[in-house]
């Protein structure tokens, strides 16, 4: 029987990483104030470095969504009453110190989640599936995680191909008004989804024809084994989380 193959940057059991990620993400959800969230972000960055995850690259990939974070932060600051007003129009406070604080918290929370999630990218989907399966998560569910990861690039490629095809017909997307551009995106959505669903069906048939769900259980070619360093990661993640909770809950 083989145990998992060590690779650069992924020589920890994915279950140990999963515990660390769950601890960091849970802390980010529990706290509302910027100070503890900033500390949790520092912990997340240090963890990402320890696991040799490229968190910067992960954040860069999400660049296109940054405006959504900014918009959410702005809306949050707009609708938060309280604190000293920083910007007012006709007596209506548009920006307050409390609003700014909440917006900052949202951005920090997103960053914690992105950075900590990038840690999981250092394990292969197969290892994650195996880890979940050994945690007694039904294989069908664990396998779906791997397939979902597999389909994200397919969805991106479909979108890219559709946009390229439209631009090859002479349409300059960047030079048309936003409203029309959104309309064009909506036209692309249905064929894109239909194509991806078609591929998903083909994949499902291929999987079934290779004996998927043949029995209630299955064997594994490679079995993961938690080693001392993995237990060390789990213990450290739990202890640090409890410590952070204890310190900031009493402040």
């Amino acid at each position: 029987m083989q145990t998992h193959v060590t690779e650069v940057g992924s020589d920890f059991d994915p279950r140990a990483k999963l515990v660390a990620v769950m601890c960091l993400s849970s802390l980010a959800v529990v706290f509302q104030r910027p100070l503890p969230l900033a500390l949790i972000l520092i912990l997340a960055v240090l963890s990402a470095r320890y696991f040799r995850s490229d968190a910067v690259q992960a954040a860069r990939r999400l660049r296109a969504f940054l405006w959504i974070f900014a918009a959410m932060a702005f809306v949050q600051s707009l609708f938060t009453a309280g604190g000293a007003p920083l910007l007012s129009v006709c007596g209506i406070s548009l920006l307050s110190t409390l609003g700014l604080e909440r917006a900052g918290s949202i951005v920090l929370r997103f960053l914690v989640i992105i950075v900590s999630a990038s840690i999981m990218a250092t394990s292969s989907p197969r290892e994650i599936v195996q880890g979940l399966y050994q945690w007694r998560v039904p294989y069908e569910l664990a396998f779906m995680v791997a397939v979902a990861v597999r389909f994200l690039p397919l969805l991106r490629d479909e979108a890219h191909d559709a946009l390229t095809a439209i631009q090859l017909r002479g349409l300059k997307l960047e030079s048309i008004p936003l409203r029309q551009r959104l309309q064009i995106y909506s036209y692309l959505l249905m064929p894109m989804i239909a194509s991806v669903l078609g591929k998903a069906r083909e994949l499902a048939v291929a999987v079934e024809m290779r004996g998927f769900r043949a029995y209630d259980r299955r064997t594994s070619h490679r079995t993961l084994r938690m080693r001392a360093r993995d237990w060390g990661v789990v213990s450290a993640a739990v202890l640090v989380s409890v410590g952070v909770l204890g310190v900031f809950m009493h402040m």
């Binding site: 397939v147 083909e202 994949l203 048939v205 998927f212 029995y215 299955r218 064997t219 070619h221």
Partner: protein, 234 residues
Amino acid sequence: MSALLCVRDLSYSFPGKDSPLFSGVNLTVGAGEVVGIVGLSGSGKTTLCHCLSGIIPLIRTGDMQGVVRVMDRSTRDLTPARIATRLGIVFQNPDTQLFFPRVEDEVAFGPENLCLAPEEIDRRITAALKTVGMEGFRHRNPHRLSGGEKQMIALASVLSLDPRVLIFDEALSQLDAAGRKRILDLIGDLKRDGRAIVMVEHNPDNLVVAGQMMLLHEGTMSKFDGQWQRFAAL
């Protein structure tokens, strides 16, 4: 020659359609025999493959009449998992057959589903990769390989289940000349190994290894005399 795949009076209609896509299809494929089926786009080649491999009626629906027997058992009496140990199918698009980021895991998927022992799984991975000449790719990411190499891995994933019957559903259509030659050479080896093989193709040129050729046209299947000019004129 013992028949590993036997089809009798097969017909199929899509759900909600009255007229059948094809009917009266008869086919017998013995050990060490390659049967080629040609047909134009839309003639029902892929649907026929689905019927031969048990995908219809076990996974997809529709009105299937007649009998398909794989190694003396009707596909209606088998589960997809039981069929998988008897019959393997390689599809047109390798990208929708591969889902793990390592060749070894991909090939291991089938034997793992069948609850084989890890040592046996390892033996099967080695044997399947050796058969397709891809031993050196065991730890590579299949998604970063060429189309021909991906199709070889898809075939190795099927061969790891050791089926005696193999169906190739336009498996050469997305490959370049070198990729096609590799697969065709391999099909020749599998034929000599005593497997029963059905090759379904749009392009008759890809059927050079077939000993018998059939034409699926306008809902019926008949012997194809190999006159490509006649096929091209259809």
